[in-house]
């Protein structure tokens, strides 16, 4: 048992994550070809616009559709459908918590690939200053609010109907994910109405920004993702959890250094054991980079899955070890 | 009848105490340490036995304490004077209704000890290297004022003016300060009172570091100095408990410890 635990805690998380992400990427982007269908309530960016290959649909698409129903319908019988959809979404979410972001989300995976491309080119990453961080981190809540209010406004005939899925319009996933199945049709500007012109143009601007941003900044988009905000609102009862034992923390900041999302609390907070913050993507890099035994851990339904250990840390950080020089 | 002895080899005096099987104090003896303290310690110990008619073989266990404890090879065990002092004060303090804080001013150090109800040390503080606030400080002052150490108490209460302030905490600098004050024509009484308050202030600061609780037990040679006691009570703002023979508390504690250690084994 202890051996198994040591093996898990000593895992090369980078490699493990790469393969798991690849698996989920294939499942969600090409799963459609293999008759995979996980439904339309997935708490991750399995883009619905990827008609042919999708293995399930991102919940934000049906959510916006549902909310755009006329108020009479929405606040009548169809309201139950919305609630039901939300429950399905929540159930999916509870399993992996924000692990959906760090391990499953195809758009996140694409960003990680872009990051590794940059690393190979030897270009360093950018970080926000703390001031920028504090301001930018609010954007995702704004997007979430708009994503809910705009379709509601349409349902109440207050806004034009062709804004039906406002977030999808500007989501880079809509442009990028279908490309993986050879569908480039989203890379267009729709001049059919003023609204669509503006929204599709915005979408392409965001896509350009996404590609550029993700190159310089690790997990650039996740910072603004309204799905992430929605996740956080539900994260309390989720099964997969990130915990911190503040007493064991030396505040060495190693976890903060490697955090793609630049979450300071992971290093500085020593009182609250429930360390997961709204920006967290549960990639568990922090756990892998913590040299203090048991200071950080990921638990599933109370069972520890993966925790920080000294040996694991040493093994993982042994990148620069020159075997010829020290054949130990 | 078995007896147990404690010998406290301090920097200025050697104190010996003997207790009987029931832990009752049989007798104590005090002698100056001198230069060859091992010889002096043996003499003091033997004199004490002779005084009470105890044969050497009847003493089952000897515990040494004080600075010279390691060198007194005749002892069965040695214990630090802080622990010994704590036990002695705890035992002796029962007569006063129990004590929790001990202030000890010795020849070259001063200590404040906090103990629990069983005489276990829970916290203690000691002056650092410097001799300020110790018996040595009083010695130096008395010599400068050309009065006997025993007279200090009388001088303390003899003055008409307010006690002078002695600023120097260092024994060496205090010496010149005292000479300066004498030169200015201040009375010895005021100076003595000033010295007492100076020591009292330092001692209280030390005691506050360990925390002052319940009755405060004051022992060590300087506890015989009524003036110092008065000054200390003034600074502390509470009464002090002073044993009849304040010098021998530590030796008594060592003897008590010798008994319990012997009985434990």
């Amino acid at each position: 048992m202890k051996r198994i635990r040591d093996a898990i805690n000593g895992v090369d998380l980078r490699r493990f994550r790469f393969w798991l992400q690849l698996f989920f990427f294939v499942l969600l982007v090409y799963g459609g070809y293999l008759a995979v269908n996980l439904g339309q309530y997935l708490p991750t960016f399995s883009c619905g616009f990827n008609d042919a290959g999708r293995g399930g649909i991102c919940y934000l698409l049906p959510l916006q559709h549902q909310l755009a129903m006329s108020w009479r319908t929405l606040f009548g019988w169809a309201g139950l459908m919305v609630v039901q959809g939300f429950l399905f979404f929540a159930l999916w979410f509870f399993v992996l918590n924000k692990g959906w972001c760090g391990y499953v989300c195809p758009l996140g995976t694409i960003q990680d690939w872009i990051t590794s491309l940059r690393t190979r080119l030897g270009i360093r990453y950018s970080r926000y200053t703390e001031g920028q961080f504090r301001r930018l981190t609010l954007i995702k809540y704004l997007l979430l609010a708009l994503m809910i209010l705009i379709p509601l406004g349409i349902g109440g005939a207050l806004l034009p109907h062709d804004m039906g899925t406002p977030f999808c319009d500007i989501c880079p996933g809509r442009m990028i994910i279908p490309m993986f199945t050879g569908d480039f049709s989203q890379l267009t500007i729709d001049f059919s109405t003023k609204t669509t012109t503006v929204m599709t143009a915005l979408g392409l601007l965001v896509t350009g920004l996404f590609l550029g941003g993700a190159f310089f900044k690790k997990r650039f988009f996740c910072f603004f993702c309204p799905m992430s905000a929605l996740h956080y609102l539900l994260s309390k009862p989720a099964l997969l959890r990130l915990k911190k034992d503040g007493a064991k923390c030396t505040r060495c900041g190693d976890c903060y250094r490697v955090c793609d999302m630049e979450i300071r609390e992971i290093a500085d907070e020593v009182k609250d054991p429930r360390i997961m913050q709204d920006d967290c993507i549960m990639c568990l890099k922090c756990v892998a980079t913590c040299p203090e035994p048991g200071a950080l851990k990921a638990t599933f339904a109370g069972i520890t899955l993966f925790e920080s250990t000294e040996q694991g840390f040493i093994k993982r950080m042994n990148q620069g070890h020159n075997d010829e020089q020290h054949p130990h | 009848m078995s007896y147990f002895a404690g010998i406290d080899i301090g920097s200025t005096a050697i104190k010996a105490a003997v207790v009987d099987e029931d832990g009752k104090l049989v007798g104590t003896r005090i002698a100056p340490t001198g230069s060859s303290f091992h010889k002096n310690a043996m003499e003091t110990f033997e004199a004490l036995l002779a005084q009470h008619g105890i044969v050497r073989e009847a003493v089952k266990f000897i515990t040494a304490t004080g600075y010279g404890r390691k060198l007194f090879k005749e002892a069965d065990d040695s214990i630090s004077e802080i622990t010994a002092n704590a036990i002695g004060a705890c035992e002796a303090g029962r007569a006063f209704g129990g004590v929790r804080t001990i202030i000890n001013i010795g020849g070259q150090d001063s200590k404040a000890i906090q103990i629990d109800a069983n005489g276990n040390v829970s916290n203690f503080a000691m002056n650092d290297k410097c001799a300020a606030g110790t018996g040595r400080f009083l010695d130096v002052a008395a010599r400068n004022l050309e009065i006997d150490l025993e007279q200090l108490g009388d001088y303390h209460f003899g003055g008409s003016g307010a006690p002078l302030t002695i600023n120097s905490t260092c024994a060496v600098f205090a010496e010149s300060e005292i000479i300066g004050l004498l030169a200015k024509g201040h009375g010895k009484e005021e100076i003595v009172a000033g010295i007492h308050y100076s020591i009292a202030r330092r001692t209280v600061r030390l005691a506050k570091r360990v925390g002052i609780e319940d009755r405060v037990y004051f022992d060590g040679g300087p506890a015989l100095n009524k003036g110092l006691v008065a000054a200390l009570q003034d600074e502390l703002g509470r009464e002090l408990v002073i044993p009849e023979q304040p010098q021998t508390t530590t030796a008594y504690g060592a003897a008590v410890l010798a008994r319990s250690q012997y009985l434990d084994e």
Partner: protein, 426 residues
């Protein structure tokens, strides 16, 4: 310029005062205790060679002196140079250094200055080409100019007085980067990814060995004594890093076999002591030795001559120079529990955790007379420990041997009270 010693004639080290000081202490460490681990032989011999026989410090390339743990040694190694830590523990050099500093100042800084000023000093660092002086406490900061006046090249490695803020972190990262530039200038080499990676691996291996040793000290009853542990970490100051690591790995292996055999290096009841405060640096191992001579055992420490120097390890996300250097900078700043920083809650938490992990009975807090920052932190540490019911002994001392008697009384009384507590608990 009178100080950079050039006399080629080997001085009679074994008759010099500092050699005698070292010799006496080593004899005490070796002979007064039974059951020293076999693997400690390496360290005893090393100290005898370096301190008593004046064997020059082994080094490859340029020898760069450091005066504090904040100087990133990996960078020095990456430039093909060798770091040597100059912090000195000798009373002899303390007295020489007293000429440079006010009377009430830190003996460590005085001794360091004294050894730099002295001719034929031990450890023998005659070919020192640069001294990196991190601006930690006031006394070290001011020592820069004095070292320069002695004719040494000094690099002031600017350290911020706080470590929480983003500004401090960036400031420090920038300091470390300029230090790398200075090293490039000094060595004429270029910093490459592979060199730095290899340098970091070397240090990481040493740290891993240290951590194993550290964890072995959790074992109760103790497997070996704190005086040996301090000797091991003190050797890291000047020993060849790979040789040192191998020696520690051997020691670890021996201790592991001791563990399986159920060996006890101290009595079962021996109070387990956590040592904190001003660093014991050879030959000033006065306090740890007194503790262990009085029957205690130092099982853990929180000092910059041991744990704080080696415990915290560097993490890197992307093995690019930029990230590696920043990672190094972070490792030397963020986890540091030195009292020079504005807040000390990290130190409080670290002490509590060490006390819990190592099943500690009491804490001994050494403050060098004149080391104000430790003196000032005394109260807050005492309060935190008292709140957790951990007894602490605060000892203010220096390098002089004249307070040994007084100290031993206090330490014995402290250990006696710990033993009583332990008995009462059972």
């Amino acid at each position: 310029m009178n100080s950079t010693p050039t006399d080629a004639a080997a001085p009679a080290y074994n008759r010099s005062r500092q050699a005698r000081e070292a010799e006496t202490l080593l004899d005490r460490i070796e002979d007064d205790f039974p059951d020293n681990p076999q693997a400690m032989r390496y360290f005893y011999d090393l100290f005898r060679n370096v301190y008593c026989h004046g064997e020059p410090v082994r080094h490859q390339g340029t020898l760069v002196g450091t005066t504090c743990i904040h100087a990133p040694e990996e960078l020095i190694y990456a430039f093909g140079a060798t770091p040597v830590r100059l912090c000195n523990g000798s009373y002899h050099y303390d007295q020489i250094g007293a000429d440079f500093m006010p009377a009430k100042s830190c003996p460590l800084v005085k001794a360091t200055l004294g050894s730099l000023h002295a001719k034929a000093a031990v450890p023998n660092t005659q070919s020192l080409e640069l001294i990196v002086n991190p601006t930690t406490c006031d006394q070290k900061t001011k020592a820069s100019a004095m070292m320069e006046a002695m004719g040494y090249k000094v690099h002031d490695l600017e350290l911020p007085p706080a470590k929480e803020s983003e500004e401090a972190r960036l400031y420090w990262q920038r300091s470390v980067r300029s230090f790398a530039l200075r090293l490039r200038e000094l060595t004429g080499r270029k910093l490459t990814r592979n060199n730095l990676k290899a340098a970091m691996a070397r240090t990481a291996r040493a740290q891993a060995a240290f951590r194993t040793l550290h964890q072995l000290r959790k074992s109760a009853p103790a497997l070996f004594l704190g005086k040996d542990a301090f000797l091991v970490t003190n050797a890291y100051f000047f020993d060849d890093i790979d040789r040192w690591t191998e020696a520690v790995e051997q020691l670890n292996a021996e201790l592991r076999s001791r563990q399986t055999e159920g060996f006890q290096a101290a009595q079962k009841r021996a109070p387990r002591i956590l040592f904190t405060g001003s660093p014991p640096i050879f030959p000033n191992l006065k306090l740890p030795l007194l503790i262990e001579e009085a029957g205690g055992v130092v099982v853990a420490d929180e000092t910059c001559s041991a744990n704080r120097m080696l415990y915290d390890m560097t993490a890197v996300d992307e093995w690019l120079l930029n990230d590696m250097v920043d990672g190094l900078a972070d490792r030397y700043l963020k986890p540091c529990t030195c009292p020079i920083f504005t807040r000390n809650d990290d130190r409080q938490r670290r002490l509590l955790q060490l006390a819990a992990d190592f099943n500690v009975d009491g804490v001994v807090y050494q403050a060098f007379a004149g080391c104000q920052v430790y003196e000032m932190e005394y109260r807050s540490i005492a309060d935190v420990l008292a709140a957790q019911g951990i007894p602490m002994l605060y000892v203010e001392t220096d390098y002089s041997p004249d307070d040994m008697g007084q100290l031993s009384t206090r330490i014995e009384a402290f250990l006696e009270s710990l033993k009583t507590r332990k008995r009462n608990k059972q």
